[in-house]
């Protein structure tokens, strides 16, 4: 039986939505085919790759994929590089618990605004320069960490380094100029998951570099400073690689991107309006804070927790802490895959339940992690917590593309920012302003994650239903997506892409319902033949 839904991963239609407004590529004519043969991968009419070959570095598609996820990875490494070294840094700088907590909050807060701004930067300069500017201007901040000698300086520098997390947006933007809409979901889930892995990699890299420098006879308070040059150099190297070997478009021409961008430019204020007036946006902004936010907070506190509670060596604490972040290699894409599998049978309702189950399970394992007093149980809880929380992140971005077709970019950006806001709040309440131990803080974080995932039940699509309610009989996809356009815009035919998208979304009704639903008459479409 032919599958109703589109291939796996295609439901994650372009997380950054910078792909052109036409949901399908126009067949531009024969001359294109000669150019297509010069690419290593099969391409569509816009020369975007239609498949992903992970172990290739071929220009431009695969090279872009690797450059973009590696630059995001580098920024995550440097943002959380202090975390495994906190036992040394806190003694050198005389930090109190409040200082450490404030620095953790600062490290994730900078990105809230830089991620929102990065979309505009990519529009102006292209994703290649957006990425290079961020990564190379953050490098001085990383190097300056080596010369800090007070709590205030520490907090400031962690804030400035954290701003570089905006490369998440440039990463997703850049891959969406290179990869076809059918596979962009998988590509983005892989790129963002592998980038987030940096939070785990840094817990391995920094202690090992630090211990290596110690063995050279350097005292601890100097060794950690020298160790900080490693992420700094990674920034410089990645920045130069991006500038010398990267290109904005498959054809390498930035000017045509700007021309294209002008042609498809929507009115920003309208796009923003439709993003903020859709209540689902705000539910996701809130709920994402308890999958991604919890993950970012844990990256900051977990190594210190294992060092202090179980009296482990700094390297062993780093290895355990690394297991948390490194699970992103598979868990985030897995969340998206589970979302797609569920949707194949039960549609959007399965996607929503998938997020809720994963995120709540993550909260439960987090609670166990805080309570566990034996090392094996603690590590088991942590690994399960990491899988569930990270899969929930991937699953969330399996639903975001359906919230709005017109405002997808802004909603993705706002959701991402919500993750950082949740991280800041969680770190502030449970690990900075609190009077209890880190273990108790982790327990409370787990309870809060479980409670704050409940608003997911409020997400209701009239045409697909919600977690607890079935769909309305008279609602359909076309009406939902066309409602974002005014009558005037509809008369100009500007909503055609949304209608095409709506037709492709029929599979979100689930297997049974999709068969029953015939192609609905779009209520407001311009007549084809007058």
């Amino acid at each position: 039986m032919a599958s109703d839904g589109a291939p796996m991963g295609s439901s994650l239609h372009g997380v950054s939505a910078r792909e052109p407004a036409f949901a399908f590529s126009t067949e531009a004519g024969r001359p294109e085919e000669n150019d297509a043969s010069k690419f290593d991968l099969p391409v569509d009419s816009e020369h975007k790759a239609k498949s992903l070959r992970i172990f290739s570095l071929a220009n431009p598609h695969m090279r872009t994929f690797h450059l973009s996820w590696l630059s995001f990875f580098t920024c995550v490494v440097s943002t959380f590089a202090a975390a495994p070294l906190i036992p040394i840094i806190r003694e050198n700088l005389g930090l109190t618990k409040t200082d450490i907590g404030n620095a953790g909050v600062a490290s994730v807060s900078g990105a809230i605004f830089s991620r929102l701004a990065m979309g505009a930067v990519c529009d102006l300069l292209g994703p290649r320069y957006g990425c290079a500017f961020t990564i190379m201007l953050a490098a001085p901040a990383v190097f300056c960490m080596a010369v800090i000698d007070s709590a205030a300086g520490y907090i400031t520098i962690r804030f400035l380094i954290g701003v570089s997390l905006a490369t998440f947006v440039s990463c997703q933007y850049w891959t969406s100029t290179m990869f076809n809409i059918k596979i962009i979901g998988t590509v983005n889930a892989l790129a963002s998951g592998w980038g987030d892995m940096g939070g785990g990699a840094t817990q391995l890299i920094m202690p090992f570099v630090y211990e290596g420098i110690l063995k050279c006879g350097v005292s601890p308070f100097e060794a950690w400073r020298i160790a900080y040059f490693v992420p700094g150099l990674m920034h410089v190297v990645m920045g130069i690689l991006v500038l010398t070997t990267g290109q904005d478009l498959p054809d390498g021409n930035l000017r045509s991107l700007q021309k294209q961008g002008d042609a498809n430019k929507d009115d920003f204020s309208k796009v923003l309006l439709h993003a903020v007036t859709n209540y689902r946006t705000w539910v996701f902004v809130f709920v994402y804070g308890y999958s991604m936010g919890v993950q970012l907070t844990t990256n900051n506190i977990i190594a210190e927790y294992y060092y202090d509670r179980f009296n482990l060596d700094i390297r062993v604490a780093g290895i355990i802490a690394a297991c948390f972040g490194m699970a992103n290699l598979v868990s985030r894409p897995l969340g998206g895959v589970l979302s797609d599998i569920g949707a194949r049978y039960w549609g959007m309702r399965a996607r929503l339940w998938n997020i809720w189950i994963l995120q709540t399970a993550g909260g439960a394992f987090c609670l166990w992690l805080g309570r566990a007093s034996a090392l094996p149980a603690s590590i088991t809880a942590m690994v399960l917590f990491s899988f569930c929380a990270q899969a929930a992140c991937g699953a969330t971005f399996g639903v975001i593309p359906f919230v709005s077709r017109r405002s997808l970019g802004i909603i993705s950006g706002m959701t991402g920012a919500g993750g950082n806001i949740g991280a800041g709040i969680t770190q502030l309440i449970f690990f900075t302003l609190s009077n209890y131990s880190t273990g108790t803080g982790i327990q409370n974080m787990g309870i809060m994650a479980m409670a704050c995932t409940l608003p997911l039940a409020l997400i209701h699509f009239p045409q697909w239903g919600s977690m607890l309610l079935p769909p309305s009989a008279d609602a359909d996809e076309e009406r939902y997506y066309a409602s974002e356009w005014s009558e005037e815009e509809k008369s100009l035919g500007r909503h055609r892409a949304s209608l095409k998208f709506a037709e492709n979304c029929r599979s979100e009704r689930g297997r049974r319902n999709a068969i029953l639903a015939g192609p609905a008459t779009p209520p407001d479409s311009t007549p084809e033949h007058v």
């Binding site: 050198n92 190097f143 308070f221």
Partner: protein, 203 residues
């Protein structure tokens, strides 16, 4: 790929679990409140004096407290001298918390010396403040250990009277120079590429 990653995680976990099964350190579970304060300990640093790590020295001396009966130190085989955080340096820093259970106590993290105890005599040790001692307020505590290494008595100079240590910053001129050079290079490289490519574009 998921399988390979799973195997890596499992082997990492196995390595850590094996490490966790290693025997606990000796002298676990002795409570400070059960120990007699039988040693009289003095430190040459006066309360409020600032010692610079790596440079200044402090001399610690210990002997049997005169209030103790003679011969009470028959079981004392060695003396372990430790540097402990004063309460002002423990405030808001849970990782330096004192605990009555000496195996869980985190207030005395720095071992100055462990040497043989001569019964009836005065022992002393001259300590150069190490370069990894952080800035803070400290006092000295000495434990008397029996033949098996378990604490059987102690003495301390604080916590009321504490001296200060000024730790090293760890910042050398070479680190400052390197940070400056690399930062400038990063910004300059970016500017260079931007200008060159803009010029090429406008040509």
């Amino acid at each position: 790929m998921a399988r390979r990653q799973g195997a890596v995680v499992v082997s990492l976990l196995a390595a850590v679990l094996l490490g966790a099964c290693l025997p606990a350190p000796a002298a676990a579970g002795v409570h400070l409140s059960t120990l007699p304060k039988a040693l009289d300990v003095t430190a040459s640093a006066k309360p409020g004096q600032v010692l610079h790590s790596g440079v200044d020295k402090v001399t610690v001396t210990w002997s049997l407290n005169t209030t103790e009966p003679a011969g009470a130190d028959a079981a004392y085989k060695s003396v372990q001298v430790k540097l402990c955080y004063a309460p002002v340096s423990q405030k808001d820093r849970g990782w330096r918390k004192s605990d009555d259970d000496l195996s869980k106590d985190k207030a005395c993290q720095f071992k100055l010396t462990q040497q043989a105890y001569a019964a009836g005599a005065r022992g002393s040790f001259e300590y150069t403040v190490a370069r990894d001692i952080p800035t803070g307020s400290y006092y000295v505590r000495a434990y008397a250990l029996d033949a098996s290494g378990t604490q059987v008595a102690y003495g301390q100079t604080g916590p009321a009277a504490a001296f200060d240590v000024a730790g090293i910053t760890g910042i050398h001129a070479s680190i400052k120079v390197a940070a400056g050079v690399f930062s400038a290079f990063s910004v300059a490289a970016l500017a260079f590429f931007f200008v060159v490519e803009n010029r090429k574009k406008n040509k």
